[in-house]
Symmetry: C2
Subunit: 314 residues, 2 copies
């Protein structure tokens, strides 16, 4: 990613679609992913390798991965909850797999139906399996610490638990770890402190990504705080679609269009054409007529005379 | 303000109410201001001393000022567009007057119906008049640079113009200057750069306040950037009510409840009881049944187990 400053990782087709009632058709998903890749988005989490009976919205993920792999300049990511999901993801050809481990064990049991030890066992199996693969077919394997900033069931989450679970994930063979504010509880001070603490444990290069929600309106402030601590990958969802279906009141990924507008206007290169991205929002809206998309930049439009790459940067 | 870290200056009764159709009754305004002061808000811009035929919503401002002055621990601020307004504000007994000067001269003509020179002449008259007053009856006089980060009519605004107009305001006798992102065009990089440049010109102590809008969702990120540059007063509007009626598409002050949640959860003292503030939102909603209030924290509620003064601060 030498030509960009920040990698915006679109999670709408996974985190967004899994938490709404509408099941988007496979062809609409492909249209969305293609349009976003063409707008310059370099990484998209296209689905989740979970049993279709749990999340029917994700039943076509293998097909979507294969399609997305045909698009140029795109890292194709998917969520995997366990070893079985990881095997399916690898068979489908993903470039990157994310496995969430909820720091709140109560949330882990509700979300993945597993204790910490059971999730860590899955991670171990996946890491061992990956080692047997040729480098060419080996996806990147990220362990993601969800509810890292608080839990809607347990409340406050211990930073020590975040650090020790992250350390275990790295020991077991994850390529890197990421932090998720699944519940939208985080604030900029907490974000900065936890990133610093965790980097001390796992090393600067092994914590590069953040998954933030905008539940209490602090999403972009938390994104800014993350950037200031050297984070280079930020997850977001087109039209703010989605959230965590098992964390009540925790809807609201940060909005891709608003995030890209912020980064672009700050003069940070994302590779994304903000005007084309706004068009993608309009297209996805027509595919999801019964769902509410949200976002400020799409509603208000770009500033008058705005030009790509930092209208306001000087 | 030695016992607080950040002064949240509520502008809803002025910037909010002037830009909606409903005319709030004087008694409802008083209820609102009283409730917010009781929740711990230390400064409220209670109205605008403009001709009632231009803004009938503000016709009772003198009455509101007198009432607000009876409340303990409250700085009573008002907007004044000119010398006549300032005289009325001083007669009513305001603690602080803000006079907006739009850096975009086109916007200045549309908003205040005056050129830069004409506005500066008003500032000069006000400053000279203030000097004739006893210290005890002399309000603080802030010159506010509106459209400082871009204009919906002119587009990009020159930073040199911001600096030179600020310098003129200080020369003419303003006690301090403030920056307004009237149009919601600002980004954190621009915010930081302009604060630094302007402080070099007017001195650290003469730029302490920012007025930010959330038009493109960047309001709290811009607030964070402002805090990082030493800003200690942030304007916001309860329920996000308001914006600038003469800047199309520029609605949306930052939301007081979300701002206070951010500051409080960061461990920054505001003196405000966030739970009481959320109750004020509910009360104001009943006074404005036809208007849309918005804000994330009120909708989502506080985090589980949240306690005042930085649940997430560690």
């Amino acid at each position: 990613m030498s030509d960009i400053d920040v990698l915006v990782s679109e999670v709408g087709p996974r985190d967004g679609l899994q938490s709404i009632n509408t099941i988007m058709s496979t062809s609409d998903k492909k249209k969305w992913i293609k349009a976003e890749a063409e707008a310059g988005v370099r990484e998209i989490e296209v689905g989740s390798f979970v049993p279709p009976k749990l999340l029917p919205q994700m039943a076509d993920t293998a097909d979507i991965v294969k399609y997305a792999k045909s698009l140029p300049n795109l890292t194709v990511a998917a969520l995997v909850p366990n070893f079985m999901g990881a095997k399916n993801a690898i068979d489908a050809g993903v470039d990157k797999m994310c496995l969430p481990l909820s720091v709140s064990e109560t949330h882990s049991k509700a979300n993945l139906r597993k204790t910490h030890d059971e999730v860590l066992e899955e991670i171990k199996q996946i890491a061992e399996y990956i080692k047997t693969l040729d480098k060419s077919e080996r996806p990147k394997f990220e362990g993601n610490l969800s509810t890292a900033f608080g839990c809607t069931i347990e409340g406050k989450v211990s930073e020590k638990d975040v650090i020790s679970l992250a350390a275990k994930m790295m020991e077991l063979g994850c390529d890197e770890v990421g932090l998720s504010d699944t519940t939208g509880y985080a604030n900029p001070t907490q974000i900065k402190r936890l990133i610093r603490l965790l980097k001390q444990e796992v090393g600067d290069n092994n914590l590069t990504s953040m998954h933030l929600h905008n539940t209490r309106g602090l999403g972009l402030a938390n994104a800014l705080a993350s950037l200031e601590e050297g984070i280079t990958t930020l997850d977001s969802s087109l039209g703010g679609i989605g959230g965590c279906p098992f964390a009540p009141g925790a809807s609201g990924n940060i909005v891709t269009e608003d995030l890209v507008f912020m980064l672009d206007s700050m003069g940070l290169k994302t590779g994304i054409d903000i005007k084309a991205l706004i068009e993608v929002n309009r297209m996805v809206k027509t595919c999801l007529p019964d769902e509410e998309l949200y976002g400020f930049t799409v509603d208000s439009g770009l500033p008058k005379g705005y030009s790509e790459g930092g209208w306001g940067a000087n």
